[in-house]
Subunit: 355 residues, 2 copies
C-alpha cells in the first residue's frame, strides 16, 4: 500500500518543478491526470507549498460567457504582473477546444503569455474521479507559484459544482436570457456563490435577473431543500416573504454580503468591479478566518477522496474483484445472483478483519 | 460485513411490496434512498424480479421540455393501460418542485393516476451516491411491475449523464434555441443517445439543429475525444467529411439507426412517432441481443458501485477513518502532513493484508 509514498520516482521532476520550469509543470500535471505511479508522492511533496494562490471558481450554464470572463480576468491579472493558472473543466469551453461554431473567443493574448498556464481537463474517464483530479491539478498550479488559479466549470451537475464550489472564491455567472435562473439556483449554485455575475448585462432581462437573484439571496433559497416532495415556491411568495422583513436575514455570510455584479465580458464592462470584488473577497477570507475554515474543509474532502481512490485500486487492481465480477455476470443476468452478494464476496476477498 | 445480506429485517415489507401495495413501494424507496439497514438485502431479494420494464432515460439541457415530454409519454402509456414509474433527477423539473416561475406543467392527470408513480430524487447529499441510488429506485419500480420506467435527468454533468445513459433506451432532448448543440454533444450526449428529440420544433432553428445532429451522427462525433489539447473541428469540416463519403459509416449502431424526431411536447405533435420509436427500440434491443449486453454492463457497474459504497462504510462508519482525519486536520493545514499520508494511515488502519 505504501509504495507510492515511500519511493519517489520523480525527484528530478520535483526539482525542475520547484525551479519553475514550465515543462516540469506540464509533466507533473500529466502524471497526476493519468494517476501514474508516484503521482501521490509528488503531490505529497508539494503539499507544504500550497495555499499561496487565490483559487477562483467560475461556473454557470453553457453560453454564459465563462471563458471570456476567465480570459479577460487573466489579462487583467497579467497587467498587475501576477501569474495566472487556468483549469477548464467544461466541455463547451474554448479552452477545451469546445467552441466549434466560431464562438471561439480571442485568447491569443493569454495563450502565448508565459505568465499564464491553461490546462483543460477531459470531462470523462478521468481515473480516480474528475473532481479530485481537477483539484489536484489546481494544487500543482498553486504550488508552482501562480498568484491566481481559476477553475472554470460548467455549472450544472454534481461533479462540476463540487469543483467550482471548493475554490476560495466561487463566482457564479448567469445571463439574462438563461431564463432558468431560479432552477439554476436550486441546482446548487446559490449555495456555492460568493459573487454573482450577470454577464451580457446589456441585454434585455438583466434587471429582472438581478432582482431575482437579490430576492433569493435575501430568502437564502439555498436553505430550501431541492429534494423530493417539496412543492415549489413561486417568485411572488419569495418576494412577499422578502418584503415582510426576512430582509433582516440579508445575504451576509458572516460579514460578506454576496454582491451581484453586471458585466459585459466582451467589451470589458464591469470587469474592473469584478476584479476589485475578488480582491476584496480575498481580504475578507483572510481577515475573517473563513479562508482557514474553507481550506480545512477542502483538506478533509481531499483525504476522503484519496482514501476512496486507494480503496478502489486495492479492490480492482490488486484484489481479485474483476475476476469475481466477470465470473458472476451470467448468474447476475439470470437473477441467480445479485449485485449485492457479488459485492459482498469481492469485499470479503480483501480480508478486512470484521469487528 | 455480511449482516445486511444475512438478516432480512424487512420480510413483511417485501411481502406487501410483492402484493403490489403502493405504500410498500414508497417505503421501500425511502429505505433505499436513506440507505437504511437492510436496504441491500431488500434489493437483493428483488433482483430476480428485475428486467421486465423498459427503462427509458430522458435527458437534455434545462428548459428543453423534458418533464413535459415525460408527462405526455406517461399519459400515452396509460392509454395503453401500461403502468409507468418516473424517477426525476433534475432539480429544475416540476416533478421535484422545480419550476418556480409558473412554467409548471399540468401534471394533474398523471400525478393522481394510481397507474403512475413519480419519485423525485434529491440531487445532493444522497448517501452512497446519487447515481447508484437513482438506479436502485428504478430497480424498485421495475420489480414492482411498471412496464415503463422513465428516468428524467438534466443532461449536463457526469452523474446525470451516467444515470440517463444506463437506461435501456436513452432519449436526448434538445431545443432549437439551445444554440449549444455541438457543445452538448461533446459533453457526452452523443454517446448515450439512442433517440434524439428536437422539442419545440415549431420554433426557428429546428432545421439547422436537425442538420447539425445528423451531420454529427454521420461523423460519429462521439469518437472524438472531448479532452485536453484537441482542437475543435468546425461544422464546415464536419460537413465536408460527411460529404466525402463518411456517410458509409452512417449512424447505425449494429442495426439501429439513431432517429432524430421532432416534437412539440406541449401540443403533442410528434409524440406518437416518439412512442413508436421507443417501442421499436425495445424490439430492436431484444432481437439484436443488445438488451442482454446493456444489462450485463449495467450489472457490472452496479457491482462496482455497491463495492465502493461498502468500502466507504467500512472506512468511515466502522473504521477509525474519521477520528484519524479529525486528529490530522491541524497538521494538514500547517503543511506538516499531507492528505496522501493521512489517507495512507486511514487505509492502513483497516488491516487489509498487503500482497
Amino acid at each position: 500500500m505504501t509504495e507510492t509514498i515511500k519511493a519517489s520516482p520523480h525527484q528530478e521532476l520535483l526539482e525542475r518543478f520547484r525551479a519553475g520550469q514550465r515543462v516540469a509543470l506540464a509533466r507533473a500535471i500529466s502524471l497526476v491526470e493519468d494517476t501514474r505511479p508516484g503521482f501521490e508522492r509528488l503531490l505529497h511533496e508539494l503539499h507544504a507549498d500550497l495555499g499561496r494562490a487565490q483559487r477562483i471558481g467560475i461556473t454557470g450554464p453553457p453560453g454564459a460567457g465563462k471563458s471570456t470572463l476567465t480570459s479577460k480576468l487573466a489579462m487583467m491579472y497579467r497587467e498587475r504582473e501576477e501569474r495566472v493558472g487556468i483549469v477548464a473543466v467544461d466541455p463547451s469551453s474554448p479552452f477545451t477546444g469546445g467552441a466549434l461554431l466560431g464562438d471561439r473567443i480571442r485568447m491569443n493574448n493569454i495563450s502565448t503569455d508565459p505568465g499564464v498556464f491553461i490546462r483543460s481537463m477531459a470531462t470523462r474517464g478521468a481515473l480516480g474521479g474528475l473532481a479530485t483530479t481537477s483539484k489536484e491539478v489546481a494544487d500543482l498550479l498553486d504550488a508552482f507559484g501562480f498568484a491566481r488559479v481559476i477553475l472554470e466549470t460548467v455549472g450544472v451537475g454534481q461533479t462540476e459544482l463540487d469543483i467550482a464550489g471548493t475554490a476560495d472564491t466561487s463566482v457564479v455567472v448567469l445571463v439574462p436570457e438563461s431564463g432558468d435562473s431560479i432552477q439554476a439556483m436550486k441546482a446548487g449554485l446559490m449555495e456555492i456563490a460568493d459573487v454573482f455575475v450577470i454577464n451580457k448585462a446589456d441585454r434585455p432581462g438583466a434587471d429582472k435577473l438581478a432582482q431575482e437573484i437579490e430576492v433569493m439571496l435575501h430568502m437564502r433559497l439555498g436553505d430550501m431543500p431541492a429534494s423530493a416532495g417539496h412543492h415549489g415556491v413561486s417568485l411572488k411568495t419569495v418576494q412577499k416573504h422578502a418584503r415582510e422583513g426576512l430582509r433582516a436575514h440579508a445575504h451576509e455570510e458572516g460579514g460578506w454580503a454576496i454582491p451581484v455584479i453586471r458585466t459585459v465580458a466582451q467589451s470589458g464592462e464591469g470587469l474592473d468591479e469584478l476584479q476589485r470584488t475578488l480582491d476584496r473577497h480575498q481580504v475578507y477570507l483572510n481577515e475573517s478566518g473563513e479562508l482557514s475554515r474553507r481550506r480545512q474543509r477542502r483538506l478533509a474532502e481531499r483525504v476522503r477522496a484519496v482514501v476512496e481512490r486507494r480503496l478502489q485500486r486495492l479492490v480492482w487492481e490488486r484484489g481479485q474483484g474483476d475476476e469475481i465480477l466477470q465470473a458472476s455476470l451470467a448468474a447476475l443476468e439470470a437473477g441467480a445472483d445479485s449485485p449485492y452478494t457479488v459485492a459482498e464476496r469481492i469485499v470479503g476477498e480483501l480480508g478486512v478483519p470484521t469487528r
